[in-house]
């Protein structure tokens, strides 16, 4: 009885101690965060604030005043030779883009390649162009004539004669094509109209295969997880535009359905994501600049040493210094979302981007040796992240690819369409995990010997990885570190491969597939081997062949486990695209024998172990053998991928 009570007491005391410790830790984080805020606020002096505010006012005033008449970037760009009494002279006078020259001043060189004009209107009313820029000038002149005509018509009294054509456009959803034969193959050819490229054409037979192989599920589910989700209900009547999947920046919904003349017809504009990317991401750049500066400041003149020797752990220090910026970014994101009418979902989709921004800036500031380098790092990060967020979001209508970017979630949310938890996870999980790993790596070198030393950047990266090896070794034993680090590398592998997929999406399959095969293999091999190399280079592992084999096996196995997480991607249906298959391997098809299934599961495991061992064997001998082994491993991996794709398809 008393023994039991003392056990309960012990348990109680332990819980209390943990609670007290975490409270202490939170308090320290809070204090550092408060210092960070008060110091930043304190150092911004009044003069700076005044200048910045004055600048803002000027920008606002001038911006508003010129917003009406445009920037005039192309003013008087072309010269037109035309007589003053020609009807086309009025066109020139009305357009900003052209400057008129009387016909008698026009000089054209003998071979007709050089001239002081681009477009000539002869006295008998014929139009022609000369010189290298003649063609583009002529096209621009054509547009000018059209808008001139438009203006004359607007002045005309007889409205019916001036506007003899009225147009109404309505957008109507069509039933998705059923792969199981409700529509014949001949008809399905008609669907890929316009801009769709080869890869989406090839995806339709894939659709069919996926639906057929899912023997357990019936045909209707096969429909709904296709490319056009949520549109499977019959639509005989015309929709009036409030459920449009395509964002429309050019005009409001009213304009789309009211009757107008042909020139008022504004096509749906699928580039809202561009605006979103810039609205959300531009403010992030400013915050991240300040964040990078504050981290860098700690490293100058050993200022950070005072905090390092305090009882706070480095996790608490970094947490405290980061907290104000996280809160600031959240506030900005919320404000932006409210301003553009996005809901909590938009905020939840953008915050992971903000976290990756902070995480990569933190690592950048830990690695950079000077402010100059930091500036470059910040610019690279923001350009890269903007690309990553923006480029896939262009393809919002090809849902699986577009979901790579959380901005797609924002676009969908703004349209009022639902987003499933799986879709949210698919597009943001990479960001959350990457931010987590980046902070982990950065914190690994948040210590005296790396912060205040002028080491080359690769050496610091190796240090950052080695510090993770150390902390894993301290907990579970040295050989497990390649296993864990390979898993941690997965989000970056995933992100890099997704980015490659989305960049290659517009390229024809013939070109895209070989590039994809090699790049995907290289990315995976790098993620599997770089930490093993770091371990060897920093003397954490014994440089023997046996160790290399063991480490390679662990690394490959870890990567295999992590890679199974990418099957999350398959849930959303990404591998239906041919390019996706090259990156993530073919889909597991049901209804095959156990032996084949075992082979399908075990073959990648064997592959990862073999290639990781190859590069580990190179890594133990130094950097050049490592590079050679890495290339060999990449080739083996690419050949394997190719073999699998050939076998399956």
């Amino acid at each position: 009885m008393s023994g039991e009570r003392s056990a309960v007491d012990r348990e109680c005391r332990r819980t209390k101690r943990i609670v007290r410790r975490s409270l202490d830790s939170l308090r320290r984080i809070g204090r550092i965060a408060r210092w960070e805020v008060s110091r930043s606020a304190g150092t911004v002096d009044r003069k700076t604030v005044l200048v910045a505010v004055a600048m803002l006012l000027v920008v606002g005033a001038v911006g508003l005043s010129v917003a009406d008449d445009g920037l005039g970037l192309a003013d008087e760009l072309y010269v037109v030779g035309v007589d003053g009494d020609d009807p086309y002279a009025d066109v020139v006078a009305e357009s900003d883009r052209f400057r008129a020259v009387p016909l008698e001043d026009v000089e054209i060189s003998g071979d007709g390649t050089d001239s002081n004009v681009d477009v000539v209107v002869t006295r008998d009313g014929e139009l022609g162009y000369v010189g290298e820029n003649g063609e583009q000038a002529f096209d621009a002149f054509r547009d000018a004539i059209e808008s001139y005509n438009e203006n004359r018509m607007a002045e005309a009294d007889d409205e019916v004669a001036a506007y003899p054509v009225l147009v109404t456009v309505s957008y109507q959803e069509r039933d998705p094509l059923r792969p199981d034969g409700t529509t014949s193959p001949a008809e399905s050819d008609g669907t890929d109209s316009g801009a769709r490229d080869d890869s989406s054409t090839e995806s339709s037979p894939d659709d069919g295969a996926a639906a057929d192989s899912d023997g357990m599920t019936d045909g209707s589910t096969a429909d709904s997880d296709g490319v056009t989700d949520g549109s499977s209900e019959p639509t005989d009547e015309t929709r009036d535009g409030d459920e449009l999947r395509v964002p429309d920046v050019g005009g409001t919904i009213d304009e789309r359905t009211t009757t107008g003349t042909p020139s008022t017809l504004s096509p749906p504009f699928p580039f809202q994501s561009l605006l979103l990317a810039f609205l959300f991401i531009v403010p992030m750049n400013f915050v991240v600049q300040a964040y990078g500066s504050t981290i860098m400041d700690e490293r100058i003149k050993r200022r950070g040493e005072l905090l390092l020797v305090s009882p706070s752990s480095r996790y608490e220090i970094v947490g405290g210094k980061t907290l104000p910026y996280v809160l600031g970014l959240v506030a900005i994101v919320v404000a932006t979302a409210v301003a553009i009418g996005g809901g909590p979902l938009s905020v939840a989709a953008v915050i992971p981007i903000a976290l990756v921004f902070l995480g990569s800036t933190f690592v950048g500031a830990m690695l950079a040796r000077s402010f100059k380098e930091l500036t470059f790092v910040t610019v690279t990060i923001s350009v890269f992240l903007t690309t990553y967020a923006f480029v896939p979001a262009i393809f919002t209508e090809v849902t699986p690819i577009a979901l790579i970017s959380p901005l797609t979630i924002v676009v969908v949310d703004l349209q009022g369409d639902p987003v499933t938890a799986g879709e949210y996870l698919f597009s943001t999980a990479t960001f959350y995990l990457s931010a987590f790993v980046l902070f982990l790596l950065g914190i690994g070198i948040y210590r005296e010997e790396d912060m205040f030393a002028q080491k080359p950047i690769p050496a610091k990266i190796l240090d950052a990885i080695t510090s993770q090896i150390d902390s894993i070794s301290a907990r579970v034993g040295g050989h497990w570190s390649p296993f864990v680090l390979s898993i941690l590398g997965i989000p970056f592998v995933f992100a890099a491969q997704l980015l490659t997929v989305s960049l290659l999406f517009v390229v024809p399959d013939v070109v895209a597939l070989p590039i994809m095969l090699v790049v995907a293999a290289a990315i995976e091999e790098f993620a599997k081997s770089v930490h093993v190399y770091a371990g060897f280079a920093r003397g954490r592992f014994e440089a023997t062949g046996r160790t290399a084999a063991v480490l390679g096996a662990f690394s490959g196995a870890g990567f295999f486990v992590g890679e199974k997480l990418t099957h999350l991607g398959q849930l959303v249906g990404l591998p239906e695209l041919a390019v996706g298959t090259a990156a993530f391997g073919p889909e597991l098809t049901g209804g095959v024998s156990i032996a084949v299934l075992a082979a399908v599961v075990l073959a990648p495991l064997a592959l990862h172990v073999v290639t990781a061992t190859i590069s580990a064997a190179g890594a133990r001998r130094g950097s050049i053998p490592y590079a050679v082994a890495f290339v060999v491993a990449t080739l083996v991996h690419a050949l394997y991928n190719l073999g699998v794709i050939v076998l399956v398809t």
Partner: protein
């Protein structure tokens, strides 16, 4: 090196964006796929003629409206146009297009062009009722839609970006020397403080014209003729001197990097906005020099930039002379 790599990346990124955007508005560049258009209604014939003439569209006349819509639903065609004349004699066209996607955007752009042609044809028929009949519009050329973009947006971007980056580098490098206290060390050297600052300004400012030369050469290799390369390089040099001078002044005045960079970026943004008030936008100046039609204003602007650049450089020297270098 890194700076150039980043700028290459940015340039590639922006041209990728714009190629995407431009091809949106120029369906001809996106492959010669023909979209089927079902045409129905009482006035189908003139419309069908116009639609067939349009690149990328193929008209099929349906007598029965329901048939046309059924064909649309079964994806045998991509749009339905229902043309009828109303009591005023106007042609009313009802367009049914598929919902969503890039294809719809392209399709609607093509349809708009076809309908505008139809409008023109109808207007010419109404010419006697109009005070000013429409001028005839010539056929388009096959000029690259990116050509104008190259002159008006890409080239100015490529020329101005190095200047701004140079300014940022000056801010970083001066502030860092101040914060690390290494300016003290430089003052031990047999150089005056003015010399030190001058050397930094000149070194970073000269990066910009070098990059400009590289970009111009690259564009020339790619077939974009540059009419006045020398004037452009002078322009970039002047702008770089101006920006670097401003950066130098800011970094001598601001207390730390965060504020210096904040000030620098707000000054640059401010200057960019204010420059729209000039009689000729700087980007327009660049475009005119490049395309070979500079006007008197263009040359005057160039002279103005040279003057301001020289003034900025001189004023940094004055500031350096005035301030007590011990206070840094």
């Amino acid at each position: 090196m890194l700076a150039i790599a980043i700028q290459l990346f940015i340039a590639a990124f922006s041209s990728f964006l714009v190629v995407g955007l431009v091809s949106m508005y120029d369906p001809g560049t996106v492959d010669g796929h023909e979209s089927g258009v079902a045409i129905t209604g009482s006035d189908a014939t003139p419309l069908a003629a116009v639609v067939d003439r349009q690149d990328g569209l193929e008209a099929a006349i349906y007598d029965d409206r329901a048939d046309a819509h059924r064909a649309f639903e079964n994806r045998r065609n991509d749009a339905v146009l229902d043309a009828n004349r109303n009591d005023d004699g106007r042609l009313v066209v009802r367009v049914t297009a598929p919902d969503g996607g890039l294809e719809t955007t392209l399709l609607v752009v093509q349809l708009r062009e076809a309908l505008e042609t139809l409008e023109y044809v109808e207007r010419v028929e109404n010419a006697d009722r109009l005070e000013q009949p429409p001028l005839s519009v010539p056929d388009g050329t096959d000029a690259s839609p990116y050509a104008e973009f190259t002159y008006v947006v890409l080239l100015p971007l490529l020329l101005f970006l190095p200047a701004f980056i140079s300014g940022s580098i000056v801010v970083d490098s001066l502030i860092e020397e101040r914060q690390r206290g290494t300016l003290e060390l430089l003052r031990v050297a047999p150089l005056s403080f003015v010399d030190v600052v001058d050397a930094k300004l000149v070194a970073t400012a000269s990066l910009a014209p070098l990059q400009a030369v590289a970009w111009l050469a690259l564009l020339a290799v790619n077939g974009t003729a540059i009419a006045h390369p020398l004037a452009l390089i002078v322009l970039v040099t002047a702008l770089a001197t101006l920006v670097v001078g401003a950066g130098g002044a800011i970094s001598l005045w601001a207390p730390d990097r965060r504020q210096a960079q904040l000030l620098y970026s707000s000054v640059i943004v401010g200057a960019l906005v204010v420059s729209t008030l000039l009689p000729e936008h700087p980007a327009n100046t660049v475009a005119k020099f490049a395309i070979g039609h500079p006007t008197a204003t263009t040359w005057l602007s160039l002279a103005l930039y040279c003057l301001i650049g020289a003034l900025a450089f001189a004023s940094v020297r004055v500031i350096v002379d005035r301030i007590d270098s011990d206070s840094l």
